[in-house]
């Protein structure tokens, strides 16, 4: 790890001025579970770290106009164990509570989870975000067994590593972003972008902005479930994940959100799968058709054909699990921290 300056602001509006004008100069320290290893491996070598853990107002789980508001510093463990979230957004509680390991969930924050860097082994070996060498992609030329099957026209072939982001997108969540010009809100779905150069990042933040809150709208009547295809019971990167939220009209699907993780450089929303479910009762056959639609445009990079199949299974299982889950009541007005703070 290389030497760096260290700043520890206490107010949100102090943060942007401490952040950099271009990526890589300054990094934000929250839980540090990803950042520390990136710095130790010198994948990122910031001149300054801005510790935001002392910033007021970013630690709370609260209720804002019927929506769930998560401060960017709320840990995955608190999201997983908050009774309010378990009750109103069970898919979110389950995904956060099942991520990584207990030790990591105790320090990893929701903001950090959305901003964590890809696990592409070429990127992590110091070959740059897009892993280009002499104008050619090391991913395409090399071992791409864990790489993207969707959104993989290049030059980015890594997969978005967050298992929580697809869940937030399925719930139509937004992020609130603070910068030098004030705050703005962006749907999580639009937050992630596919970079075209090594100098870009995988999201819509500018170098002097940071996430302050994640806001999840009420989800009355929504039936939701996520499914991860992974080898190990804990502390493992999945091959593919799927988050599905269904709004039902009696026994048929009125509308659906189907979002896949670990299949593309961004969490991959599948309107095709949602379309395939609309107006239909959820049966193994319709779930299968929707899952097929979700991966219809997927293509192998040479060594990751199996991921197409595994993503299809993840979508199918998430749809069936969502349909089998109880519908959720509206968020109670007086719901507070849910005892998890």
């Amino acid at each position: 790890m290389r030497p760096f300056d260290y700043a520890s602001p206490t107010k949100t509006d102090q943060v942007p001025a401490l952040l950099g004008k271009s990526w890589g100069e300054v990094e934000i320290l929250a839980g540090g579970s990803d950042l520390l290893s990136l710095m130790k491996d010198e994948i990122t070598t910031p001149k300054r770290l801005v510790n935001i853990k002392q910033v007021d107002g970013l630690h709370a789980i609260s209720n804002e106009g019927g929506a769930l508001q998560l401060g960017t510093l709320v840990t995955l463990d608190r999201i997983g164990s908050a009774a309010q979230i378990q009750h109103q957004y069970p898919m979110l509680a389950a995904a956060a509570g099942d991520a990584a390991s207990p030790q990591i969930r105790n320090v990893a924050t929701i903001g950090g989870n959305l901003c964590q860097r890809p696990r592409c082994w070429y990127f992590r070996s110091g070959h740059g975000l897009l892993a280009q060498k002499d104008g050619k992609s090391m991913v395409l030329q090399g071992d791409n067994r864990y790489h993207a099957i969707l959104g993989n026209d290049g030059p980015a072939y890594f997969v978005s590593p967050s298992t929580v982001a697809p869940v937030l997108i399925a719930y139509n969540a937004k992020v609130r972003i603070a910068g030098p010009r004030g705050t703005r809100e962006v749907p999580v779905e639009k937050f992630f972008i596919i970079p075209k150069t090594d100098q870009e990042r995988e999201h819509d933040l500018r170098p002097d902005e940071f996430i302050t809150h994640v806001i999840v709208p009420p989800a009355p009547g929504v039936r939701a479930a996520h499914y991860e295809v992974r080898q190990k019971e804990a502390f493992d990167w999945p091959y593919a994940t799927a988050a599905v939220a269904l709004t039902m009209n009696a026994s048929t699907v009125q509308s659906a959100r189907v979002v896949m993780g670990h299949v593309a450089p961004v969490p991959w929303v599948s309107p095709e799968a949602a379309q395939a479910l609309q107006g239909k009762a959820v049966t193994p056959a319709t779930a299968d058709q929707a899952a097929e639609a979700a991966v219809a445009k997927a293509k192998s990079l040479g060594h990751n054909e199996h991921k197409i199949h595994l993503a299809r299974v993840a979508v199918k299982r998430a749809i069936l699990a969502a349909a089998g889950s109880p519908a959720r009541a509206a968020l109670a007005r007086d719901a507070s921290e849910g005892g998890a703070a």
């Binding site: 790890m1 082994w121 070429y122 090399g142 295809v229 190990k232 990167w237 299974v313």
Partner: protein, 790 residues
Amino acid sequence: MADDNAKYGWPAAEQRSLIGKRISRVDGPDKVSGRAKYTYDLHRPGMLYGKVVRSPHAHAKVVSIDTSAAENLPGVKGVYIIQDKGSEIHWAGDDIVVIAAVDEPTAADAAHLVKVEYEVLPHFVDDFTQPKNIAENNAPLSPRDLFQMFNNDAPDDQVIAAAQKRGLAFQLTPEMTQRMKDNEVSETVIKALQAAPVKQPQPTNSPFRKESEQVKGDPDAAFKEAEVVSEGMYGCPVITHCCLESHGSIAEWTDSDHLFSHISTQNVSGLASQYAQSLKIPEANVHVHQDHVGGGFGSKFGIDRWGAYTAQLSKKVGGKPVRVMLERDAELTLAGCRPSAFAKVKVGAKKDGTLTAWQSDSWGTGGPGGGGAPPMPYVVNIPNQRKQHTAVATNIGPARAWRAPNHPQGCLITMGAIEDLAAKLGMDPLELMLKNIKLTAPAEDTFHRADTYRDELMIAADLIGWKKNWHPRGQGSGRGLGLAIHTWGGRGHESNCALTIHPTGSVEMKMGTQDLGVGTRTAILIVAGETLGLPINQIDLKIGDNQYPSSGGSGGSTTIGGVSSSTRRAAVDARDLLFAKVASALKAKPEELEAVRGTIRVKSAPSRSMTWKEACARLGTQPIQTLGKNPGPGDLISSGVGGAVMADVSVDMETGIVKMNKMVCVQDCGLVISMKTAESQVYGAMIMSIATTLYEEKIMDPNTGHMLNPNMDFYRLAGIGDVGELVVHMMTGKGYDERGPIGLGEPPTVGPMAAISNAVANAIGVRVPFLPITPDRVVAALKGGSNATV
């Protein structure tokens, strides 16, 4: 001899108060509280930190090195060139230059300032593709070829045949001969090597070395007559040792020619000679110390290149302590590599399941030196055989011994092929194995091995519910059972134990052995406590230092036999000397006394006794000092064990994900000294093997020649949720106890890989040929895209 056995022999079952009992490891509290200090935890006063400039190329020549900028960086105290210009580099990450600085970041900064120019050479890292149309290798044997063969436990006849046919590429020196003797290379092999012609080697660019075919019996006729023949592909990739505590040391010079090294090692007593040879100083000037080691698994017997340069660098900076511990990526890239083994196998049998013929065409790599053939057919000595092996030289890093070198690979391939044959016959593989059990008896079957296997298989079958739960292949909708049997030698190594009984009653022991976390301290104390009639917490045991009487390296399951027998001899001698001192006071002859529960008493009249302290007080000012040795008087140990493993798995037929339901290991290791830590040793072996079977693979990038997963994200190890229910049953009592303690580190790591792989085949209806059994491979096998048999 009979007298020696009566004197030193192990106490009979009814007299044992500690041996074979479940006693918690003595260093457990230190380890769970963090009081136990590993080399990695130590920071010596004034210590400098080393960082290494590593080769970015998998195969290259060093053209030039410029360290001037690094040397001028403030905080840099020393720079040492490990491989100078002209050196050929054979793997990515190999050590080129090391820098000592006041802290790690400065050392890292300096490492970035070193300019190394390379001439990049072509590399080769693919051991997975079957080599085809390769001409048999006739090149004369290099020292490396020989080392590889010995390292891979190549059978004597294989080494002799190769030496006779190919000759040697070098002149055998008396030093080499002596070193082979020291490493227990057999006399016949050494003679054959001495007689072999010396030839000039021809240069070659091929990575493939096809060894001579080995034939036993008449395989052609046997296959012709076979009523059923099964063919299949089996194999496992290179895996790394992934020690939780990485390799490394802290070296310091106490004066200009005395070295003190704290090092993470399996070989406390064996390293001084390696340092001495490398540093050109007398062996007696080298002090090696280690309290605890965080994993070795066969990879920590040497000082290694990094141990040598850490000492060189310390010397260069005036003897100040210098610490170099490998980073996680270096640990996985450089410091561990179990050779791969793949094979195309054909097995022939009669309709009733009697095995008659074996043919294997195998290949594998152990890095630049290629890699020897695993023992095949493993344990089950099928009468007619034809075997062909091709060693594949690769730039993946050097091979190291990994628990039970070559056995897990041989077992996987053999037990897989036999299981597939059983499936083809529609026969229960347990029945087939029992039918052929006589083939498992070794040539010198002193201990009725075939009967041991039979008994163990029956116990394992009972523990896993084989009768109730086994179903013909593919008929269990994703759940299945599999089995394997395995063996190992495990005779105790050379060991010395210095034991002192002080007049105060305190007992002190010193041994230059090491506890790899397996309970060696506990076992030594159990033997001493049992013999002296003392609770183990009244004995002060010191190990982990080469200033103590030497003990062998902890490899090949040799430690328990070595340390327990030397301890027994030291303790019996000391106890008898104490008896001689106090006999008259108890009005008895020394041989009429016994040491029990902290007293010395007359066997026939226990009320005539004195406390241990009273007895020791009679020593006056002279402590009793004994040195117990192994080998030594009395037959205390033996060699050769059998074990049986059965696995119960569930496979998600859609995703191909394998989950362990249960695994049973029934294991023989002669006399069990420390039951609880012995069982733990087997649990650990099973857990390690689950990761090996389902997750582990050293994944190499074909283009850069770098390891792609030198981290614990994608070099997956099993977590507690992944291992299922584990059951250990140790064979004890008559037929086992009288053999004395035999090593246990290797055997239980052998069978699980094969048992799990067979259980998966039984569960899903087809063979997944190659490990690790990942979802993509299971899905491919289910689609028929594999080379599955049946």
